[in-house]
Structures are given as structure tokens and as C-alpha cells.
Symmetry: D2
């Protein structure tokens, strides 16, 4: 992929029908609305009176599903999943994961990452467990199959399982008669509840409710399990963690702008970030331009706060597909211009404030700035609507390894020079708390701050489990001024 | 297709290499940038020292072409084509059209429509011509093969052919040694010339030059033939028609906003139309919202002129594909919301000015307005950045038949009621001349005005070849006030 | 499928490289030679120094694999599998099955059927096992993961597992460093060992050795485990069952004629059956005709023994593919003639002896005889190179349920009448022992005789676990004369 | 392709419905039965009351057609085509060719080759004709469109066209209301007429009639045009050429053994050739083995005439597909054994007579003989059921260029040595007349004899117009039994 972005790893969806809806179609539309959360594979499992029908495969929702196979997925409960994945991905990792165990069938769709996955896996293997995928969902499946409870209820079994899980997980689970939504105690990944007539919907984002015209009921709470059956909806608060850790990068990049997560509109959070960015890094210029699609909302905010006119400056080709023939090394400049083209007449002779959500490796950014220079922009002031990426994420996103992160290797000034901008400003770390998140709830900004809300991080990690402060000391001050000394040795 | 839009029918591209470029790849990128002009089929023909290699097929550019087949298209001149088409389309109609005739091979790519096609076809058939497609390009091919000139030059043959063609045509033609670009005498469809190092490029829009980083040289003039060979570039002005007829709908909807056509930036024309619309139909409201993608630029202009804030109000799903499973009749509301979702938090309690480029049948418009009402908008003022569609286009676009056009059947007030808006305003017909078009050049607005610059329209047309004035008399006055009496029975 | 044949369920293949061969290609060729044993799905797993690379999918070997994916399967040990399957088949059942457990990875390919599968599965589920497929191979995988042995060797673990398995199984297993071949104690399904230079090959049939030009070493013995590692080959005789039960239907229909199984050439066994059939059911006729492909060898034998000339009488279309559009109900006659066409000139006016390997439902047979009548044959004497199908097979083949078997429902005379033959003769049950099988080894003819060599058959079976004698008493006598009273109520 | 065979170039089929048959399905079945005549592309055109619906594409009949596209081809007349083609093939060459001309639509399917194609093409081009393919059918189409007759009947136009055509052609043509079958005056390629209830069928071979259970009516005669309309069938004998030139290679290899061509059963002709071969080249041996599939019938005849037992010795893998991964150079031996495996037990220690239809380059033959040696055959006597290939064919087959033909380059003794046989015998040229062809009709054996029945052969031929004697001198002596008279003028 040409564009260097951090990748979300999954989207989940569940539908419990009480009205005669076509649950597979509803799930199809829902996954389609969640496609931005994962483009590698997708799947839908439906429950036809205890019999599970499953269709999953590599590709986009509208590549994997067609009228014919959707038709065959008849049932009254459905679970869907979209997945982005790393290069190690194998077909077996596609979700939902369906299995048969002593109490019947179990279907699992997971968004997140268990920080104690390897530990759990090793323990299970010692007890004779067999793994056919590298998915964390399979770990949860084994734990569920081994949970011994007095009752035969799936929720009791899952409560046993939840005692063992650490990390980030938003789960949609289907037993022969129930649809269950679970959010981890810290609430890293979003998960919400909706209602369509008398039927229930669970989804990663509210946009998936909107698309099927379902009403938003509420966010599923951190540490909450919601159990939906023919008897109705039951809520179990299985944990009460004081350190709520909503992922701030959902607001910055992952989520759709039209979603509302934990009470905050993603779009409005972005406009607000743009405004904060304008205050933190004002500059005299002629126009404010956002990088489509995610950068546009920030630009709206920046323009509003600065009074500098918002203009469209980059046009995105709407027909990008995965099978696109990649430009060769010699055609490197084309690699950006096939996707984003500068509106020359709008740019020529102008001092441009260019706004993007984040800088990861810096390559795309440099190419874009060159496009603007070639188009005749006299100055280009890069503004980034997030603090510099410095730390790994263990909670279900795909940040490249630290030695690829430009902010780890270079100071702000150096980055500014590398990407060829006239000035560069990142959103101050402290400003994140001003984007509208509820004051009584916390958030996770570990990828920027290095402050992880979970103490026991994966052992084999390349990063020692210390806070940024411990490691960098004074550099923190530098960070404040957006001049970071080389961070890692 | 859910969304009722007028469809462009083609995009053309040509590349004459003098530097060792991979002409097929360059053409691939170019077609990719022109994909919005036709999504039904595409093709590339390359000239490998007189031998033509051709690959074409149904589908998008990145579906029809892959690394393997592009690899095989080695040569030094290339012609590419993207095509939108009606239901009567057959595989044989895909372009470029390649044939062998007495003087060697001839490759033709056409954007446009001959108004005397049937007449020419019938005459050719009488002379023994055989047609294997329904494409107008095949007519031109037959005429070229029959043209008898003293010289053996393709340009002389084409000059003979051009005497017979009427209507709209932007042509890219490849002979064994030459690449030729031709624009009809009235200049309906755009065609421009670019240069990449020492190589020449011909394309429907400048955005296709940008994508391969070629420099824009100039528009090919109405009535001009440009002949590129190893000897360089030669221009022949074969006609000097006083009635230039640049299609205004290119500015309104067809072309990419980042293209510059006949000296006018499409984006800036749209912003200007938005401004004109604000002046013509002001209204007190809280926010201005454009319908993505084409409506956004108008909204920027409307906001600037009115002082009412521009806001994003609709989020488009970026993953729409052609294989999408269509919502059933019962799921009609979903048909819009899967593509466009309202930013509820931004809309709730607001008076919204909603701006789109045009209204064809009115169905999408009505669905969108319902979405806004459901999202809590208190008022919705629809503004349309073009005059009402009233007349057929004979020049290469696909406007539905008149009995499907809402403006033909209903008055402005009735339309306003049908789509459920609180008010409705169209761009005044006279304002089109204020969007920046060169004063010395004319334009075609026949689809709005009924004033055709060509006297002899197709005989079998459903519309008598009279101007609107002759037919409707007083209704013209009503039209001025945007209250049109039902126009056609 | 039009043609009613009993289906084999699997073919297995393994390759242990000591010479630098491309193990995936060798396995590809091997599976290709075993394609007749399973056409539903196939897969290859290779061991690249402990890392398992797997590619499997639905379809034929040359549909699932291409140069590109074969290329990626680099390694030094490989396991391959082809599978035929019933309608309940799901993608998860494709083999080889690969998993990670406490001792590393385990790859399993199975041909056969465990008669105690349900019992084992239920026991494993009670212990917390999770099943993701309906494959017996997954049961073996769980047992292996739970086997606790003092040594860490895979062969010791498998010996523990083998104590629990009942039924028919020929296994190819790959551990991080070893390739293992195992045949069940009774030797139901074939499995042989080959050598190519210094490399080892394990395959279901010798034809798979021939295709890669490997030398046949020997059959793997019933109750034998062969362990191949860098240290060479080690044989473990883990069981010594006196009741060897080689499947006779391998000789009659399943295996390729060019394979040699347990010391007997399949082709020669078939010629011999043809001769025995000629002695048992002589008839005065003009020509002997076999039904391609399997019936041809029997016809050669029948002709040799009877002195009646062997002639080709049916020509098979070589281009049958799975995507063939099936004839409609009205086109029933076409359903046979598209695949087999009568050589009219050779048949007209002749008394024909028509030989096929077996009769299952009788439908194809009746259609064929009609074809011959229409072609002008004056008499048609049907000869079947196996005894009547009367009993279910629990050992890895797919005989239809008893109520579909024509021989269960009707007497020989009735069958003769139903299929429209002038006479009908089956191979006498006793003649099977004369086809060349080693006298010191037994065979399984339970599908004909009802005598099962395994006492504990699946409980949920539709057939009580008694021998035919116990149930039918006198009918056995009738059977001798090929007049069977209706057998099952 | 591994196997070096001469390739047939086409099969044609036509159906005129008078009973309500599904004409597309009937044509599908017919083409399926003719698949051996062309595997590169196929197509079906149906006439729905004057509107032509066409579906054609690259691939086998069951790859190009599926239930869905066959469903759409509704009509009352159909024309089908299968095509084998050389490397220069392009998609545009697929047939049937459909076009519109002054008198309506014309659909053409051709089997054969015009020897004056280049001359006709050049003449047409001079008159302004445009060619979009390299197909001879397009030449015929142009001639038809230019034919001026007093009546408006298609048959009169075709009679005009036929005056100009030279060479081999069996045509099926569809006008808006008629189905027409035409065979060239010398009758090179087969074409027959059948009847299914009241409907008419035209096909390249009788096997295509059999498959749809149609009755064979008669062969269409050399120089005959058969016109089928609602008025019934009309025959026009447009030429009466004394030099009938039925292609003998249809009997030797091209046609299905179950077809009857010009009164001679292909199977019986082959058995007869086997007998003649036995007489011409007797040898003491243990068994006679044919190379599947085509060699088997010859082997049956050889065995009958010699009294040496016929045995199966080679087993063909039934699952060969076009996508098969080709063996690498190092795996050359595998290239034959994946398709044909020797029945070792049947061959070991035996003196084998191995029979194939022809030897083209000799490579496959040599590989096969090596397989037999490796399997333990003590002697291998190669017998070839046709004379040596020495001359090009201009009549619609694809014989490799002369410098690839082993018989052109080497003497019989040298060939015997090259392929590694103990002896080698070809069918004597004179014996061809004994295979049952009607005495009053001639045949074409030019590929063996160099005696062409058409005087004016293509000028641009790779063969100088000298006699073989002039060219080969002494090598002639080696052709001891194969005396070739002056071949070319």
C-alpha cells in the first residue's frame, strides 16, 4: 500500500431478530458500513435454530458476498466480522470463528488484542489444546469450552473466561439461542447497542446502526456483558475498572466521522482537534486544505478557528481498487498522484496550511508536499491533528515497528525538513483531553505518551514496559516543544 | 444504480512516446484518472512498430487490466478508452476499435455522439459495409477506409471523413506511425494536449495529465486536428465554426473538479455556481451541506457567498463496489443510507441548506431529505446547482427519457413538495454564462434551454427539432421564476 | 452427478526431500495422479524448517493450485490430500489439517473413516475440546495433542493415539522434522512407500509414485507406522491383527488400473474378474463391450475367457467438466449421451455383452441399455463385475443409503427387467477370492456380504451390527443364485 | 502443450427449431460433443425473431457457458462454433461472427480455410472494407454484404459469394429467417444434416447429432447449400467438382470415433487401418498396445489382423485440465507420465507393438518408448497408423512448419533410432484408399503425398513450389515404401 496509515484491525456486528428481518442481509449492510475497520477478510455466521451456517473469505464485503451466498444464510441470529490483518494472516484466521464443543456451537467475533494471549495459549497447549489459527478468538473459544460452571448458561461460562482475559476486546458471541456483546473492562475498543423495531443490533460503530436505520440505544459499557435472547436483553456488569481507556485514535483516524463513540461525535471531535491545532500552531497563510478523506474535518476546524478560508485542494480518485497495478520505482511520483491530485488553480501562488490526521513514516506526506510545490504553492505549513507516534499499540491496531516511525528517529525540525514543509506542528498531547471525552472517563493515548493503562504488557515485546517519562526524562520537555531527541536506541 | 445521475459516455487517452516510457502503463494511469467518465468497459491498444496489441473488456480499469496483461502491451504509441453505456451495450462496442484496412491498421477511441449516425450508417450499408457493433466509432472507421485521397496520409483521409461527421466527437486515433487528436467543430466534449518530457499525451481531461505528471500544453481547439509523429506535432484547423458549444454539464457534474477545461477550472466554476445560487436563492439557515462528492464544491461557494457556515453533513461510504447486493423493495431506505450517512450530531436541530448538482428523477433527493428529517433537521432547503433538466442530449450523455425527468412533469413547487423540501431553488439559466467561460466562446445548455446549436437532430428522436421557445411559449417565463408548467404530454 | 457410482473419499500423499526436489510440485503431481480418489477439495502443506505453509481449497488440483501459489510453498517435507465429500461438506473440512499444539505443529492427511468417531468426539468434548470441522482428522489431532508420553517423540504420541482409533485409516502425518505414514491394523485403505533418489514418498496408490518417476519400495503394512526423518526410515509394527481387511472395491472400481495394491495389479485383477464373470455367466453373443472407463478391463477379460470379440462400443466425451450445464428433466436421455455415445455401426444388429463394474441405483445402466437398443443391438446381456451391493460401508466410501440400492429392493430378475436387459449376471461373491489377493491376507467384502471385520460398528447406524446370515437366513441361498428376496424393510 | 499433435481448427453447429426446443441448450450440447475440434474459444448466437443474441469467449464450452448466460439466449434459430487457434489468435476471431449489413443481420460460423483468403482480403480492402479480425469468416461476411442480386434472398447472395471462395469451408450461416449449411465443392471438411422431431440440425460430425438424440439424415454434399426456413428444407447444388477431397486425417485423428463421415464410420476406418498396418508391417511380439485415446482403435485392428493379443498398456489420467502446472525442464520425464502411465505388470518382459495415429515432431513418441523401456518391455515396435507427415495443410488444420516435422528431416531408419524403437512402420500411402472411402469419391492426402487438389495455393507459403524430389534427393530412397510423386507445382 502506498499510503502509510496505522491500521485498525477489526469490526464486529451482531443481529438478533424478533421481527422477521433477513439477518444475513442486515449483517451484510452492517459490515459494509464497517468496511473501513478491516479490508482483508470478512464473514457472516447465522444461527438457523441451532445449526450454524457460515460464509467467510478473503476480500471486501462486496467481493466475498453475493446475492446467492447471502440467500443461503437463513436464520434468526447473525454475527459478522471484518478484519484487517498483517502479512502473517492466513485463511484460518478469518472470523467469525465457529466451533462445536460440549454445549453445542459457539460463534465468536473479536475486535481487539489480548495482551496475555501468548501466556493463555501456552497454558491451553499444555492442557492439550490444539490451535488451527493465530487468532485470539480461538483462545477465547478454548477457554469457553473448558469453563466448568454449575449452570449450563453461556453467560456463566463467559464470565469464567473473562476473568482470564487481559487487554482490549470487544466481542460479539452467538450461542445456540443467544447473542452476546462484551466489552473489556477498560473499554479500549468501541461497541454499541441498537434496536430495529423489536430486534437487537450490536456493532463496533453507530454508523453501522444508521445504515440499517436502527436506533442507537447506548454504548455497551466497559466491563459490561449484554445478553440478548428471546426473553429480552439482560445486562451484566462483570467488571468495574477505574482506568477507562477509550482509544483516542478511534477519534483521530479509525472510526467513521459519522459515528458517535462513547458519547462523542467523531466528526465533532475532529473539528475540535482542528481548532485546537489552530490555537497551538497558528501561522499566517491563504488557505486551509485537508488531506482526504480523514484530514478534511480537521481542516474545517482549523479554518473556523483561524479564520483562514477552508478550500478543497486535493481531489481523491473515487475508483481506487485493491487490484490496482502499482507504479514502479521509477514512477514513484505517480504513486501519490493517482490517488490524490492537487487542485492547481486553487493552490497556485498560495500559502497553504495542509492538514492530515497523523504522520507515520512520513513518505506520503513528503510526496504530497512535493505535489503542492509543483502546483505552485508558495508556502506549505504542515499541521498534524495528533501528537507524534512514538510507542507501540498492544490493543488491536497495527502501528509499524518503532524503527519505521519517523517521530522516533527524528526531531520535529528534522521531520519538517525531511518532508519538505515550511513549518510543522503536531497536536499537543495535552489537547487530547479537550476533544470532548467525558471527564469521568479516561482514555488511552499510549501510542503518543507511552503511558499504558495495563501494567503487564506482552513479554516478547520490543519495548520495555516503562512509561515514556522513565525512559526519556528531559526529552519530555522537548516533546512539548515538538522537538524530540532521537527516542530509542 | 440507486443514484439517479446523468451519465457521461466516454473518456479517451493517447500517448506518443519519445522517451522510452511504458506507454501501456501511462495509458493505464490515464484511464484510471478518467474512470469517472465511463465504468462499463475499457481498453488499451498499443502500436508495436505497426503491429497493434489490444486488450479490452467489461469492467473498471483495475478489473480489466492486471500486471500481466499490461506487461504484454509493449509499444511506442498507445490509445485508451473508458466507456459508460446503456443497456443495449454489447462486448463488441468496447473501444478502442482496431481494424485493418487498405492502408494498414487504424485504432479509434471516441468520446461523443454523431447526430447523423443513422444516416451515415445507412449510406455505408448501401455501399456494402458490414457493422459488427453499434458504436459510432465503427462508422468513422468505415468512412476512413473508404476515403480516397491523393496522398496516403491518414490526416488527409480523416479530413475527408470529418466533412461528413456531425455532432459531438473528441477522437483519439492511431495509425501505424501517428497519434491524432481531433475535436469536433463546436467543441462539445473536452480534449487536451500534454507533454511529458519529449512525449505527447492527449486526454479528455487535464486530471489525466496530472496523474502521470505530464505538463498541460493547451486544449485542443474546436475544429482542430493535432497530428503527432516522430517528426513532431502538427496542427490542422479543419473547421472554424462560430457556434462553439462547450458542454456546460462537464462543469456541473461530468468532469473531475481538478480538471481545467477550455481555460476554466471545474472546481472554481462549481464554487462560482454555488455563489450564484446563494445570490439567486438566499435563505436563512444554520449550515450549508453538500451532497458528496459532486455537491461539495457548490456548497463551499454557497457558504462563502451567504456567510452561512459550511459543514460536512453527509458521509460517503468509500467502499461502494459494483457487485454490491442491492437492497430489496422493503429496504428502500437502506439504499441511500448504505452510501450516504447523515452526520446526526451536526444536523440535529439545524436549518440545513442542502446542495446537489442536479435533480434528474428526484428519487435520491427525496430519500436524502428524509434522512435529514430523521436526523432532526428542522428545515431543509434544497438548492440545485443547475437549471432544471428539460431536454434530451444528443451529444454523448445519457439523460433519461423525458417522461422520467421530474422537471418535465412537475412545476418547481410540485417538485419541492414531492421531494419533501422546505424550499427549492435551481440555478438560473442565465447564471451559467457567469461561471467563467470565455466570453468569445459559446457553450451548449440545450438540456436546460432546449436551444440546440445543431439544426439537424436525429430524425427518430422523440423530440421535434424546435427550440423550447417555439414549443412552450409562456412557460419560458415561468421557467425564469423556477415554476415550470408541466412541459410535455 | 448423473452417473451413479460409489465414491471413494480420499487420497493422501507425502514427500520427504533429501535431494533438493521442489516438494510442493512433487506433491502437486502426486495429487494429480490421485485425483480420481477425491474431486471436492485438495490441499498441500509444506514444512519450511518448522514453519508450515498451507494452501487448500475447493476444487480440482489444477483449479486450486497454480504456478504462483505452488511457488510459495517452499520447504523440505510436504503432505497433500484430495477429498471427495458428501453434501454436508464445509470448507473447514479440507485437508491437510494443520495445527499448533504444545509440541509444535502437526499436519494430518487422512484417508478412511473411524468407526468410533462419535464416541471419541464426545469424550474429547467432555474434556473441553473444541471442534471446528466435521473431519475425523480433527479427532486424531486432538488425541495427539493430549497424548502424554515420557519421550517427546511424535511417534510415541501417535502410538498412544492409535490405541484409541478403530476403523479404516491410512494417515500421512508431518511433524516439524518427520514424515509419518500409518495404516490401520486391518489395512482397509491402501498406502504405499516409494523412493526417488534419496527422497521418500508415501502415497495412497503406486500410480502416484509412477507419475513422479519414483520407485515403488513396498506397501506399508496393516498395523505399521513408517517414520521418515533426516536419520532415515524407521518401521514400527504397532498392531498385528489377524483379520486383514483390504477393501475389494479398490480393485473393482476405486483405484487406478495402473496401480498395484498389496501385491496385486488392479488392472490384472479386473481382467481376472472379467474372466471369472465369463465363466459364471456365459452367454452366446457377437461382441463384448465395456462401459468406459472402468468397465473396459473387465470386458478385455470377459472377451479373452469367452472367445467373443472385444469391441469398443461406447465413446466417452473427454471434456466433461464440473461446470457442465445439466440437462433438464425433459432432456433426460441427453444426460447419458453427452458423456457416452454408442458406436452405432459397431453395434447395429449385434448381440452385445455389456460389462460394467457395478450397479448402484440402476439408473445409468437402464439409460445405457436404452442407448444400445436405439442403436440397433438385437440383444443386450448385462454383466456386472461385482456382486450386488447390499450393505453399507463404514470404512471411508460413500455408498448411498440402503433404500437407494437397487439390489436391496429387487431380485436379480426384477433388476434385469428394470434395466431392460435380456439377461443379467453379477460376479459371484466367492469369485472375489480368486482375483489374486494373497492367500495369507484377508479382504473386506462387507458391502456385498454384510460380513464386517469390525464388531463395534457406529451405533447410530441404520443397520444392526449382525452378519447377513443372521438376518436373512435362506436368502443367502437365493443370493447364490442371484435371486435376492427384498432384503430390508 | 506437451503432446505434439496436429490440430483441427473448428467445429460448427446449427439448429432450426420447429418444436419449441431450447435452441441454445441444444447448441450447447452439440458444441460440447464437438469440443475435440477446438478448445480455444466458443460461441453461440441465437436469432430471436430477427434480433441476434450472442455470447462467445475464450475457453471450453463449459467454461464459457453457464446456466445463466445460456438462459438469456432465447430464440428459434441458433449457430454455434468451437475454435482451435494458433498463437496469433485474438478475441475478435471468436465465432460465430455476427454483423449488421444492408439486408439485416448475418451470422457466420466457419470450419476450414480459404486458400485465396489474402487475395480476397486485399481486393476487399481496396474497395474500402475494414477488417476487425484475422478470421476468414469476416472475408465471407464482407463478400456477402457486397453481393448484389436481383432477389433479396440470402441464398442468392451466398451463391454470388461462393463463386469467389477457394479452399476448404464448411459453413453454417444464419439470416434473420433462415439457417444455411454450405460445404465447399471438394468437400474437405465434414458437415452433416440431422433432424430432431420436426427441427433441423447441422453439425460438423454425427456425434453432435447423437448427443441431442437427433436422427442423422445425410451428409451435406460437396458443392451443396442447404437452406432451412419455416417453409422447410431446400437443397441447392451450386458446384459439381469432380475432385472430391475428403480430408483423410479426419478419419485418422480429428474426428470422434463414434462419428460417421461421408458414409464411413471413423471407428471402423481406424480398425481397418490397424489391420492394414498389421499386414504392411508385421512383427513377432507378445502384445499390441494403443496410445490412448486415438491409438486404441488402431490397436484393436492390428491385434485382430495379427492374432497378437490386444492389451491395455497405458492409462490416461482423466483429469487433465488446461491450467495444469507444466513440469519444468528438469521434470521432462514427468511431462508424459502425468498424462499417460504404463501398466507395468502388463508390460514387463514383453515384446510390445505400440500403435499411435501419427508422429509429428517425435518428442512424445520418444518419451513414451522410454516409459515402456523403464517398465521392462524387452522390445518396442512402433507402428504408426498414417503415412509420414511431409507437407503443409492449407485446408484448416494446424500442422507445424515443415522444419519441425521429423519425417521431413529424417529417414525412417533415422526416426526409428531417434525415438528409440526396435522397429518402426508407417501405414503405406496406398492403403488409405482401402479404409472404406466410397470409390466414386476422392480424398485429400496432401499432407502425406504432397498432391494438392487445388492448384492455386497461398503464395506466401513457407514451401517453395518445387517437388519433393527436387528438394530431398537421396532421402527419398529412405522412404522406400513411401514413394512420393511430384508434389507441388
Amino acid at each position: 500500500m502506498v499510503f502509510d496509515k496505522v491500521k485498525e484491525e477489526c469490526g464486529v456486528f451482531g443481529f438478533f431478530d424478533n421481527d422477521g428481518f433477513d439477518v444475513a442481509r442486515m449483517t451484510y449492510y452492517g459490515l459494509y458500513a464497517l468496511q473501513h475497520r478491516g479490508q482483508e477478510s470478512c464473514g457472516i455466521a447465522v444461527n438457523d435454530d441451532g445449526v450454524i451456517l457460515l460464509h467467510k473469505g478473503m476480500g471486501l464485503v462486496n467481493e466475498v458476498f453475493d446475492s446467492e451466498n447471502i440467500q443461503e444464510l437463513k436464520g434468526s441470529i447473525a454475527v459478522g466480522h471484518v478484519l484487517y490483518s498483517s502479512s502473517k494472516f492466513q485463511r484460518e484466521d478469518c472470523q467469525p470463528l465457529v466451533s462445536r464443543y460440549i454445549k453445542g456451537t459457539l460463534t465468536i467475533a473479536l475486535n481487539g488484542n489480548l495482551t496475555n494471549a501468548e501466556e493463555l495459549r501456552r497454558k491451553l497447549e499444555k492442557e492439550g489444546a490444539v490451535f488451527q489459527s493465530s487468532s485470539n478468538a480461538e483462545i477465547i473459544m478454548h477457554l469457553a469450552a473448558r469453563a466448568r460452571t454449575k449452570t449450563h448458561s453461556i453467560e456463566d461460562a463467559m464470565l469464567k473466561v473473562l476473568e482470564k482475559l487481559e487487554g482490549a476486546f470487544s466481542l460479539v458471541i452467538m450461542s445456540p439461542r443467544k447473542l452476546i456483546g462484551i466489552r473489556d473492562p477498560k473499554g479500549f475498543r468501541p461497541l454499541c447497542l441498537g434496536k430495529l423495531k423489536n430486534s437487537y443490533v450490536i456493532a463496533s460503530e453507530t454508523a453501522a446502526l444508521d445504515v440499517i436505520r436502527a436506533d442507537f440505544v447506548r454504548d455497551i459499557q466497559p466491563g459490561e456483558m449484554v445478553v440478548i435472547s428471546k426473553e429480552g436483553l439482560k445486562s451484566i456488569k462483570y467488571a468495574d475498572d477505574p482506568n477507562i481507556s477509550h482509544c483516542v485514535f478511534e477519534y483521530i483516524y479509525f472510526a467513521r466521522p459519522d459515528s458517535v463513540i462513547d458519547g462523542v461525535s467523531v466528526y465533532q471531535a475532529r473539528v475540535q482537534m482542528g481548532k485546537l491545532l489552530a490555537k497551538a500552531h497558528p501561522v499566517d497563510a491563504d488557505i486551509v486544505v485537508g488531506v482526504p478523506d480523514s484530514g478534511l474535518s480537521f481542516a474545517v476546524g482549523y479554518a473556523q478557528a483561524s479564520g483562514i478560508p477552508y478550500e478543497e485542494g486535493l481531489i481523491k480518485n473515487r475508483y481506487t481498487g485493491r487490484t490496482f497495478i502499482k507504479p514502479t520505482q521509477n514512477e514513484r511520483e505517480i504513486s501519490v498522484s493517482i490517488k490524490l491530485n492537487v487542485l492547481k488553480n486553487n493552490i497556485k501562488g498560495k500559502r497553504v496550511i495542509l492538514i492530515d490526521d497523523s504522520i507515520v513514516r512520513g513518505t506520503t506526506c513528503a510526496n504530497l508536499i512535493k505535489l503542492f510545490r509543483d502546483a505552485g504553492a508558495t508556502q506549505i505549513h504542515m499541521r498534524v491533528a495528533s501528537p507524534p507516534f512514538l510507542w507501540p499499540c498492544y490493543f488491536g491496531t497495527d502501528i509499524p515497528s518503532r524503527n519505521e516511525l519517523i517521530a522516533v528517529k527524528y526531531s520535529i525540525d528534522e521531520i519538517c525538513q525531511k518532508i519538505g514543509a515550511d513549518s510543522l506542528g503536531y497536536l499537543p498531547l495535552d489537547d487530547i483531553k479537550k476533544i470532548g471525552l467525558r471527564q469521568d472517563q479516561g482514555y488511552c493515548d499510549a501510542c503518543f505518551s507511552g503511558k499504558y493503562s495495563i501494567s503487564k504488557l506482552p513479554k516478547d515485546s520490543s519495548i520495555p514496559s516503562k512509561t515514556q517519562e522513565e525512559i526519556y526524562g528531559n526529552s519530555r520537555r522537548n516533546f512539548k516543544d515538538f522537538k524530540i531527541i532521537k527516542a530509542y536506541t
